[in-house]
């Protein structure tokens, strides 16, 4: 046993998995993905609820399995299960599960538990191998208070001379159960925000070809929630909720019309340059609650891809921050990617939702290995 054993196991694993992902031809298929992550802050801060000054091997780590079965020529059943370290327990959860019907090449209908299709990588948010960052930019992607819903989605694609234009419309509802922590008489107290997103309606318009993807998204829903909390909410104990409600759950109504919109672009104008950018905004009862955006540039050089991200997050409550990230990815097999990343977070005003105890430039380092099989 020892490192030799680990290296051999990795090589065998890689060889067995090679090409499995999309080589099979059968009525029943499965595929999987794994991320083994490390992260820590370089000072006494808590970042994204869990990452602190001690090495954290849980927050970014996850294991997922997806199954699909062809029920007929046009009908398919699919489900994906994910066990995440951020849950502290690795208990598997249903990421999505739906029936998909494609009567022809242009039309697709889905029904079941669906990913909320608001962002560029919403559909494969948990598959670390498929995106450039050590973790998706929290300014946009940690708004995952609504990450999936129960309902239906229909999309229509139209072929243009230079690419494909698609329109997707969806509707449904989603339960809300968001745990966080509060400080009650000096004791950490578990708390939660529960309720539902009802009457969810949304649309996504996208254009794509082999080097460009542009998406514009809009959705609205009626939020009804109740708060179970004692004492004060701990900064950084639940980033998604903090961002949504701007640091104080009680400052905004717990029921109302909630609107989201986003725009995203992913382009590869040259072989040596990749650009990804997204903007996300939200409004509750016509009151803007957040504006967030990021821009990433990557430079593919053989098996390496250095990248740089600049991000900003602002709120009507007056808090906000800028975030800078430098990363380097390298392919360690045809189905595995090693990523290292440094981040600097510059909090402008207030504690902000991202961090506890921000002082000056807070630094976070991360490394993870991602594989698909």
């Amino acid at each position: 046993m020892g490192k030799h054993w680990l290296v051999r196991l990795w090589v065998i694993f890689t060889a067995l998995c090679l090409n499995h992902v999309y080589a099979a031809e059968s009525s029943f298929n499965w595929r999987g993905f794994i991320t083994a992550g490390y992260s820590q802050t370089l000072a006494n801060n808590t970042y994204l609820s869990y990452i602190g000054k001690d090495p954290n091997f849980l927050y970014d780590s996850k294991l997922g399995i997806a199954f699909s079965s062809n029920l007929s020529e046009n009908l398919e059943a699919s489900a994906q299960f994910v066990a995440q370290g951020s849950s502290q327990t690795f208990s598997p959860d249903v990421d999505w599960a739906y029936l998909s019907y494609r009567p022809n090449d242009s039309i697709m209908l889905r029904a079941g538990r669906l990913r909320f299709p608001m962002w560029l990588i919403a559909d494969y948010y948990n598959v670390g191998y498929s995106y450039i960052w050590a973790r998706p930019p929290p300014e946009v992607y940690s708004q995952n208070i609504l990450s999936s819903f129960f309902g239906v989605l229909g999309s229509y694609s139209y072929a243009l001379p230079t690419g494909t234009l698609s329109l997707a419309m969806y509707g449904g509802s989603s339960p809300l159960d968001l745990p966080f922590q509060s400080n009650f008489n000096g004791q950490i107290s578990p708390s939660s925000l529960t309720g539902s997103f009802d009457r969810l309606l949304g649309a996504t318009l996208s254009y794509e070809n082999l080097s460009l993807l542009v998406r514009v998204n809009y959705a609205r829903t009626y939020l009804q929630s109740s708060l179970n909390v004692q004492g004060d909410v701990l900064p950084g104990s639940s980033y998604g909720a903090y961002t949504l409600f701007q640091e104080s759950f009680l400052r905004l109504p717990l029921a109302g019309n909630y609107q989201f919109w986003s725009m995203g672009i992913s382009a590869k104008p040259f072989k040596f340059l990749r650009i990804i950018s997204e903007y996300f905004g939200a409004e509750l009862d016509n009151t803007p609650v957040s504006n967030n955006a990021y821009l990433t540039a990557g430079v593919p050089i053989g098996i390496f891809e250095p990248h740089f991200t600049v991000a900003t997050s602002g709120s009507t409550a007056g808090t906000g921050y800028n975030r800078y990230a430098l990363g380097l990815n390298t392919s360690v097999a045809s189905n595995a990617l090693l990523k290292v990343q440094w981040e600097g977070i510059d909090v402008k005003t207030g504690a902000g939702p991202l961090l506890s105890n921000p002082t000056g430039l807070v630094q976070v380092v991360s490394a993870n290995i991602n594989a698909v099989f």
């Binding site: 080589a23 090449d105 072929a159 082999l210 098996i303 392919s331 097999a333």
Partner: protein, 150 residues
């Protein structure tokens, strides 16, 4: 340290480009019973990227891929301006978002397997080295390709 070096060498080996084949040495082939004689580049792209399941004449189109070879590298570079890594990443994203389905691989990654499969499937479309062309399959011309070359 030695282990890290071994791992690095394995990674380099696995990601090394396949033996290069000239772009003018790749033939797009269909079954000999197929009435098509040419396809536009966009039509070929739509078939191989899973956007359509039919030829322009309405007949079903069933593409087949080679798992990894110099011919495959030349095919994707010539007609789609994509490296093998880029096409691999494209399909990873499609598969994991429950999107389009990639072409199935022929059993073994060589021209003989591709020829054998195409010759037995009247709706098949694939590619192979021009030097291995014979009467068991039919080559079709791909038009409007020059715009892609960078």
């Amino acid at each position: 340290m030695n282990n890290l070096f071994t791992l690095f060498c394995v990674a380099l080996f696995l990601t090394a480009p396949a033996q290069a084949v000239g772009s003018d040495q790749v033939a797009v082939v269909v079954n000999v019973s197929n009435t098509l004689s040419e396809l536009k580049q966009k039509e070929l792209e739509n078939i191989f990227m899973g956007r359509t399941s039919t030829f322009p004449n309405g007949e079903p189109a069933v593409p087949r891929d080679q798992a990894s070879s110099g011919v495959k590298e030349a095919f994707y570079q010539t007609y789609f301006s994509l490296s093998l890594d880029e096409i691999h990443d494209f399909w990873i994203r499609e598969v994991y978002r429950g999107g389009r389905k990639p072409p199935i691989f022929v059993d073994t990654s060589n021209d003989s397997a591709m020829k054998s499969w195409i010759s037995q499937n009247r709706n098949g479309i694939g590619y192979l080295g021009k030097s291995t062309l014979d009467a068991t399959v039919k080559e079709i011309q791909i038009t409007d390709v020059k715009l892609l070359k960078k």
